[in-house]
Amino acid sequence: MVALARKTLIYEWRRFLPAILAVGFAGLLQLLQAALVLGIFGSASVYITGSSADLWAGYPGTQSVNLGRSIDNGVEMRLRMDPAVTAVEPFHWVDADWRGPNDTGGVSVFVSGINTRADGMLFAHALPPSLRQRLNEPDAVIVDRADLDSLGVSVGDSAVINGHRVRVVGVSNGLRALGGVNVVASLTTAAELDTDPTNANRMTYFVARLRHPANAREVAERLRGNHAFGSYDVWTARDFARRSQLYWIFDTGAGAGVLFLAGIVFLVGAVITSQTLVAAVIGSVREYATLNALGVGVGALRKVVMEQAFWVGALGLVGSTVMGAIALAFARSRSVPVALGPGVALVCIMLSMALAIVSGLAAMRSLRRADPATLLR
């Protein structure tokens, strides 16, 4: 079989280049916007992804980690009783109001009260042991480097949270929050900052470490059935992180924005690609008509066009994968929040291939002009 589609693609590559670029850039745009959205909204779950806990126990139906309500302290006992659990730790979340030493007005902050031991689970990936150690000083807090300006402080300064004086003892990296500012404190400090009297003997979350993290899903299933300590629910860290991210993506309308933009990118890419493929078909229409005169069926000619569309898609995707990898590496090096999993990347790639296929179908229509009778005039 003579590889007409491929040989034409190689020989007349200039003709096909716009289509390859259109598919490539469409793929690149899809990949980058997905990575950006996932990166930005991924920080909604930094409390979970930055910690080493396998299970999270919290108020039933909590849609996002920042929306937690307090649960009974007895849940800690319930978790500890399970033989699969090796450690349990409380997480005290306080929505608070910050007043800095400089004129920054009130800033809404999220105080995370955590276990400061070196083997603590919360923010195990985000805070080194030396930094955690400093939280043991009375009224000590840590803020993120990126938030120093908006809080109007530097390390060593004092500020007021919920009317209580605190002191900034260090800065963290990668603890930026969505819709506010993260402040990390010890459990003791956080309890002092919590002005809600109903939270006595209650805690926002309890997190647990498992002997076999791979069994997290089964253990969570087992633990959530019990109501002996009031209502609470148990999720695996992965599920809870995912739920928090999805809440932010859809609650803020960013999800709809992404879908809308993806549609526009798809449309523009398809227009350019199909026009290029149509031009390529018309450029060879006399040759196609000759083949048809010689008895090669229209179906076989359509297959040639679709094969070209496939190769245009495949080459475009190689381009967008390479460019996307470079762009993401660059973004990471500049601490732009980007995150892209294999599943989402696959969806972007399939969308671009669908773009090429749709364009091929559109170009196939122009094969109607390949009427051999027109060659005789």
């Binding site: 079989m1 003579v2 007409l4 040989k7 034409t8 190689i10 020989y11 007349e12 060879s284 006399r286 040759e287 008509a289 000759t290 083949l291 048809n292 005169a293 010689l294 008895g295 090669v296 069926g297 229209v298 076989a300 051999p372 009778a373 060659l375 005789l376 005039r377």
Partner: protein, 252 residues
């Protein structure tokens, strides 16, 4: 052995029976072929000549199954083409007909061998057979040494020979040529005519050629002169191979 003897009359392989065709553009109705009846024989190079617009290309399109007549019947190799649907007609053309056009219509990306192999691969031939046939066909038109070249590296005459080889490799019973020499100089035109003539003689192929090129007239076994959609004269001439001179006879 398989060459038809000059004295036996070769069989009729292509027939048109009361064929009419007209085109209309807007209010203007133009009849291109007027109730035309015609027999064309195998093993001969038949030339339809006439001025532009006389309907000769339309006649070729109808006789070759590329177009349907408004009225009448076309019987090719014993099959009534007017009864076949589009798919069956494509199949008939794949198995039995070859085409050579004025423009050579070669794919720029393919070399001469691939141009010839391409239609063969759709015939369902094993790749080895397709290649052997393509090579034999290119050698027959004298392009054996140049079969690795692309159209951009070939002269006009060579391109037309590739187009002939492409049509010939299918071993068709019917070979149609539309103005095959019009784009070529005298020497190359001569080569093309000789090849077409030889194909008719050695393969027993029905070669039907449409042209207003006067150089072709002396080389055809039979010349049909057309004007205004009718055949004016039908002259059988074999100036080299047979001693009998051409017979002038009016058309039906």
């Amino acid at each position: 052995m398989n060459q038809p003897s000059p004295h036996t009359i070769p069989p009729v392989s292509l027939q048109a029976r009361h064929v009419s065709k007209s085109f209309s553009s807007g209010p203007i109705h133009h009849t291109v072929l007027h109730d035309l009846t015609l027999d064309i024989r195998a093993g001969e190079l038949t030339l339809i000549s006439g001025p532009s617009g006389c309907g000769k290309s339309t006649l070729l399109a109808i006789l070759s199954g590329l177009q349907r007549p408004d009225q009448g019947q076309v019987v090719a190799l014993g099959e009534d083409l007017t009864l076949l649907n589009t798919r069956a007609l494509e199949r008939f053309r794949l198995l039995h007909t070859g085409f050579v056009f004025q423009g050579f219509n070669l794919f720029p990306a393919l070399n001469a061998l691939e141009q010839v192999e391409l239609p063969l691969s759709y015939l369902g031939l094993p790749p080895g057979d397709a290649r052997r046939r393509a090579i034999a066909s290119l050698e027959e038109v004298g392009l054996g040494p140049r079969m690795g070249l692309r159209p951009s590296e070939l002269s006009g005459g060579e391109k037309q020979r590739v187009a002939i080889a492409r049509a010939l490799a299918k071993e068709p019973g019917l070979l149609f040529a539309d103005e095959p020499t019009s784009a070529l100089d005298a020497a190359n035109g001569q080569i093309i005519i000789d090849i077409l003539h030889r194909i008719a003689r050695t393969h027993g192929t029905t070669v039907l050629c449409v042209s207003h090129d006067p150089r072709l007239v002396g080389h055809a076994d039979r010349v049909l002169a057309m004007e205004d959609g009718r055949i004016l004269s039908d002259r059988v001439s074999s100036p080299i191979s047979t001693p009998t001179s051409g017979i002038e006879e009016p058309s039906a």
